[in-house]
């Protein structure tokens, strides 16, 4: 019993990973858009589980909070209102397979490049830390939130702020697009 539980605990990452892949496959494969969103939700929760099994609690919880709780709800909000009962609308979503294959292959190639580097490339001995004095006395396994915030606000402040400006641009753009039709 003891041994069995320990084995499960050690392989938690693989279990959650396979479940996440299953959810993603369900998302891609299902015909109904709402079912797709459910699959996406399941995959997101499993990715959070992956983070948890790597002792990155903060990231796991942020994953649930931001993706499962925020973004996917908004997806669902939109998808619910898209009723694909008419044949013509259905055709629009089904006749893009050639483009879809091309995009998928392109994406797969890009990701393979990244994965090849991550899996087989030489690992850097230390993480890039610009201000090591802030990291003194920080137990990363127990102080997840502090470690992440140090990374965001001390080591990578400029890229982080630029990213937030990009998000702001997207927000403003969405408002502009929605507003112009009404005037």
């Amino acid at each position: 019993m003891e041994h069995f539980i320990e084995t499960i605990g050690r392989n938690m990452f693989a279990i959650f990973g396979v479940m996440a892949l299953g959810g993603a496959a369900f998302m891609v494969g299902s015909r109904s858009a709402v079912h797709s969103v459910l699959g996406f939700l399941f995959a997101m929760l499993c990715v959070a589980g992956c983070f948890l099994s790597l002792e990155a609690e903060f990231l796991g919880m942020a994953q649930i909070l931001v993706y499962a709780g925020g973004i996917v709800v908004l997806f669902l909000f939109v998808v619910m209102l898209v009723e694909m009962s008419k044949k013509k609308e259905k055709a629009v979503f089904q006749l893009q397979s050639r483009h879809a294959i091309a995009v998928a292959l392109l994406g797969a190639a890009a990701f393979l490049g990244v994965f090849r580097k991550v899996l087989f490339g030489a690992a850097s001995p230390d993480a890039l830390v610009l201000r090591p004095e802030l990291a003194a006395g920080l137990d990363v396994a127990k102080q997840n939130a502090q470690a992440v915030s140090r990374g965001l606000y001390a080591d990578y402040l400029l890229p982080f702020e630029i990213l937030s400006v990009i998000l702001l641009v997207a927000l403003v753009g969405a408002v502009v697009l929605a507003k112009t039709e009404r005037v």
């Binding site: 539980i5 709402v34 499962a68 619910m80």
Partner: protein, 388 residues
């Protein structure tokens, strides 16, 4: 103190889960009953009295006596309690109707989602700091092992609570969609918009305790908020409590914010098409969510397992005489009493404040609650910066 093996600790965790479920399933039916009774007395009627068996007829006899005496009977507090059993039986035994054009899978999964999301929040709630009780030596397999006061007092407990609570929206939205009918869909959409909106001020109002206590762990937060705060921290605590409670009412879809099921506009909202135990799950989930909000409010603002709210305990404790030291220590009973008080407040508010209009609900969230929550956060940051 013996260290539990892996299997033992899993068994202990299961026992803790069982205890929490028992707690929830004791509190929820009593809240339902209290709602009928308290609402009845608030509206100057008797509440539910009809299903009362002959065995508890002594109150019936006293009631009759009081009517004869020319007084309105107030002794009938527990008349109607057998009605709870009747309610549960009715929910379980009723025919489970599946609408012909419903999406079967989603229709089935929606009540489960909202129920699970409501219960699972309790994983990160710490009822009492440290050890809750220790198994006696003679206990088989677990003798001498301690049981802690929370199931998983993880260091990002607050994020877990917020995240899982936001997953609860799916139950309602999907139920509205899967029913394939107009009123449920409208109810589901309304509730999605309302709950996503109110999550913002809710999270902002909870950020004030995070800033003040410099932690995300439920147990640590409630301990520091109750005992480690300066007197200045009272202002952000009280303001934050009122904000949190308002948002909590909206998040649990209770009056005065019960837009998803505003019955004179939407029949019964998102669960119009549900019957039997599937409806029962939504009903349960609503009351469990109320308990969750009550637990968080009492944990973060009302001092949790300590006696006094808003950090007054920390100001009082140095002056507490020795023979009263029991009141200076944390006890699970204080926590439970506070939860029950907030559940009572829910019913109280329901009997007092009429429902908002939908546009008013939205403007309350975006125009008033969010700015006030931001100001509160600023206050907390100032207190944290200069007083702690």
């Amino acid at each position: 103190m013996p260290i539990p093996t892996l299997t033992q600790s899993i068994v202990i965790t299961l026992i803790q889960c069982l205890l929490v479920v028992i707690f929830v399933f004791v509190v929820v039916p009593l809240t339902v009953f209290a709602e009928r009774k308290v609402l009845g007395y608030l509206q100057q009627r008797l509440g539910s009295t009809r299903v009362a068996s002959g065995h508890v007829g002594i109150t019936g006899w006293m009631n009759r006596g009081m009517w004869k005496w020319g007084r309105v009977p107030v002794l009938s507090y527990w008349r109607g309690i057998p009605g709870l059993v009747a309610d549960v039986l009715k929910l379980i035994l009723k025919e489970d109707i599946l609408p012909a054009k419903a999406d079967k899978f989603v229709f089935f999964i929606a009540p489960a989602l909202s129920m699970v999301a409501a219960v699972v929040v309790f994983a990160a709630v710490s009822f009492v700091p440290g050890v809750f009780f220790t198994f006696p030596k003679w206990f088989p397999y677990l003798g001498g092992l301690p049981v802690s006061g929370g199931i998983a007092d993880i260091n990002v407990g607050l994020l877990w609570i917020l995240g899982v609570a936001s997953v609860g929206v799916y139950g309602i939205v999907l139920a509205g969609w899967a029913s394939n009918s107009k009123y449920p869909l409208l109810g589901g959409l309304r509730s999605a918009a309302q709950m996503v909106s109110y999550e913002v001020p809710l999270a902002l109002s909870l950020l004030a305790p995070v800033v003040l206590s410099a932690s995300l762990n439920f147990g640590e937060m409630s301990a520091r908020m109750a005992t480690g705060m300066p007197a200045l921290a009272l202002i952000p605590q009280i303001l934050g409590f009122l904000l949190y409670l308002t948002c909590g009412f909206a998040e649990t879809n209770r009056l005065p914010f019960d837009m998803p099921e505003a019955e004179n506009e939407l029949v019964a909202g998102f669960h119009t098409e549900y019957s039997g135990m599937k409806f029962g799950f939504f009903y349960l989930a609503e009351y469990i969510n109320m308990t969750v909000v009550a637990a968080l409010a009492s944990g973060f603002f009302l001092g949790g397992p300590w006696l006094l709210p808003f950090g007054l305990q920390g100001l009082l404790n140095p002056h507490l005489p020795a023979f009263l030291s029991w009141f200076g220590e944390p006890h699970a009973i204080f926590f439970v009493v506070k939860i029950i008080f907030i559940l009572f407040t829910y019913i109280w508010v329901r009997g007092t404040i009429p429902r908002y209009r939908y546009d008013q609900v939205m403007s309350v969230a975006w125009k008033y609650l969010i700015p006030v929550a931001l100001v509160n956060l600023l206050l907390a940051a100032v207190v944290r910066c200069f007083a702690v």
